[in-house]
């Protein structure tokens, strides 16, 4: 196993100094942000590492890991809601979406024994699933609100023809979902061709056999693809339900900020 040690970490930090120097040279005014982001990332990772270390001690119940997952779900839902404030009730929606997606994707991976259920697997897999779904979740919510705002006339014309809300909204929900899913599909397509993904790089650097690392990475990619599809669909349908009344009227929609 590779251990870069604290000295190694220190030397690699000199690369942050390169970024700071470039910012100074080109007068980007980003030095403080760069330094702060580097320090913050290290602090966050150290905390996570210490907590994981504590959880990985023999005899620790995996309930702690699930508690951690619950906390991640809450933070992710809160972050999504904060990033798309124009979408009504997004916190509950995002929370439902992440939870649904967690049950679906982790259910498959753990239920069929692809990974064994323990602290070492629960936290990182849930983290990957949630972390990678967040951007798409924000995107689908914003995009759908934007569509329903911009195409209001068109949607009301469909409603005026006697189409139920679900049907009248379908083309716009579809557009929003396609927009939100496409980046993940593109990323999945080019994986390995352009950049080696993080999990695999980490495994290879840590001394795992590359083919083994590839299998893990592929499973992780599928996990992400499945979870992005599940979260965006739940959020897309949820936003649609919130923006139409039960008697098939489109409520006034604020412009997505």
């Amino acid at each position: 196993m590779t251990d870069i040690g604290w000295v190694g970490l220190g030397i690699s930090a000199s690369l942050v100094a390169v970024a700071v120097a470039l910012s100074l040279w080109r007068q980007l005014g980003l030095e403080r942000s760069i330094a702060w982001s580097a320090v913050r990332a290290l602090a966050q990772l150290l905390v996570i590492g210490l907590v994981l270390d504590a959880l990985l001690q023999p005899g620790v119940s995996s309930a702690w890991a699930w508690l951690w997952v619950a906390l991640m779900l809450l933070i992710a839902a809160w972050t999504v809601a904060r990033r798309a404030p124009a979408v009504p009730g997004l916190f509950q929606l995002a929370l439902t979406a992440f939870a649904t997606s967690a049950i679906l994707t982790l259910g498959v991976l753990f239920g069929f024994g692809v990974f064994t259920v323990n602290v070492r697997t629960i936290v990182p897999l849930a983290g990957l699933m949630i972390g990678n779904s967040m951007a798409a979740t924000v995107l689908v919510a914003r995009r759908l609100v934007e569509e329903l705002h911009d195409k209001r006339d068109e949607i009301e014309a469909r409603l005026a023809l006697g189409q139920p809300a679900e049907e009248a909204a379908r083309p716009y929900v579809r557009n929003a979902l396609r927009t939100a899913l496409s980046p993940q599909i593109e990323t999945t397509k080019v994986v390995g061709l352009i950049a080696l993904p993080g999990s695999m790089t980490g495994l290879i650097l840590a001394g795992v056999d590359p083919l083994n690392a590839v299998r893990v990475q592929a499973a992780v990619m599928y996990l992400i693809l499945g979870s992005v599809a599940a979260t965006t669909t739940v959020v897309g349908l949820g936003v649609r339900r919130r923006l139409f009344t039960r008697d098939h009227r489109l409520v006034p929609v604020a412009e997505a900020g």
Binding site: D153, E154, E156, A157, R158, L159, A160, L161, G162, Q163, P164, P171, D247, H248, R249, L250
Partner: protein, 238 residues
């Protein structure tokens, strides 16, 4: 056809409709006129339940629209909007949204009813001129076989020839027993089209009655509004 009973619709600063009371008779063309912001579109949208009154009720054929199935109501009470709203795809696809079982023969018939020929079926709806698109929107509404068509300033974004064309279509509908409620703030258009008139001022029905006696019967604020429109029309003329 429609009875408005103390209809109020709340708005941001002031009510968009404020205790509006009046009727739309069950025949011919009723022109709904009033200054901009007087609540014409809101009243029209209440007729097919795209909006619900905050207070009061809109009665269609003896029954409160709030108690009717909105989807069935909207197929009886069709609506064409101020700006043409072509859906993505061909004209045929547009007609199929309204009536998925429509065959090409019915579709051509629907187009002919609005003065367009069969060659339009395969054309992309978004590429049509304003007047053509508005005709397609009317055809799309008519394939649901409505008893009433609500037309919300449908000629405001089309050229004068298309304007007259749409007016003739409205007249033709009224003669085939399809009621038309037509919103405008063009006095000449009101005179050309109206069998009945409903004037809204500041969210209230200021006058309702036969078009023939409009000037004679109307209260002072309606006459002021009509006089202002007449001045606008003179200014508009080349």
């Amino acid at each position: 056809m429609f009875r408005f009973e103390h209809v109020t619709v709340a708005g941001d600063r002031r009510p968009r409709l404020d205790d509006a009371t009046g009727t739309v008779p069950p025949d011919g063309i009723t022109v709904l006129a009033g200054p901009s912001g007087s609540g014409k579109s809101t009243l029209l949208r209440c007729c097919n339940r795209l909006e619900l009154p905050t207070a009061g009720r809109v009665v269609y054929r003896g029954q409160d629209v709030a108690e009717q199935d909105p989807l069935r109501l909207r197929r009886r009470v069709g609506m064409v909007f101020q700006r043409p709203t072509p859906f993505p795809g061909t004209v045929r696809a547009n007609l199929l949204v309204a009536e998925p079982t429509l065959d090409d023969g019915d579709a051509v018939h629907a187009l002919e009813a609005v003065g367009l020929d069969a060659s339009f079926l395969g054309r992309t709806a978004a590429d049509l001129s304003g007047g053509e698109a508005q005709r397609v929107c009317l055809a799309r509404t008519l394939v649901t076989r409505p008893a009433v068509v609500l037309m919300d300033e449908v000629t405001s974004s089309v050229d004068p020839a298309a304007r007259l064309g749409l007016e003739n279509l409205a007249r033709g509908l009224a003669e085939t027993a399809v009621n038309v409620v037509w919103v405008t703030h063009d006095l000449d258009q009101l005179r050309r089209l109206a069998d009945h008139v409903l004037i809204l001022i500041r969210g209230r029905v200021a006058h309702a009655g036969p078009a023939a006696t409009l000037e004679a019967d109307s209260p002072p604020d309606v006459r002021r509004f009509l006089a202002a429109l007449a001045v606008d029309d003179e200014v508009d003329e080349p």
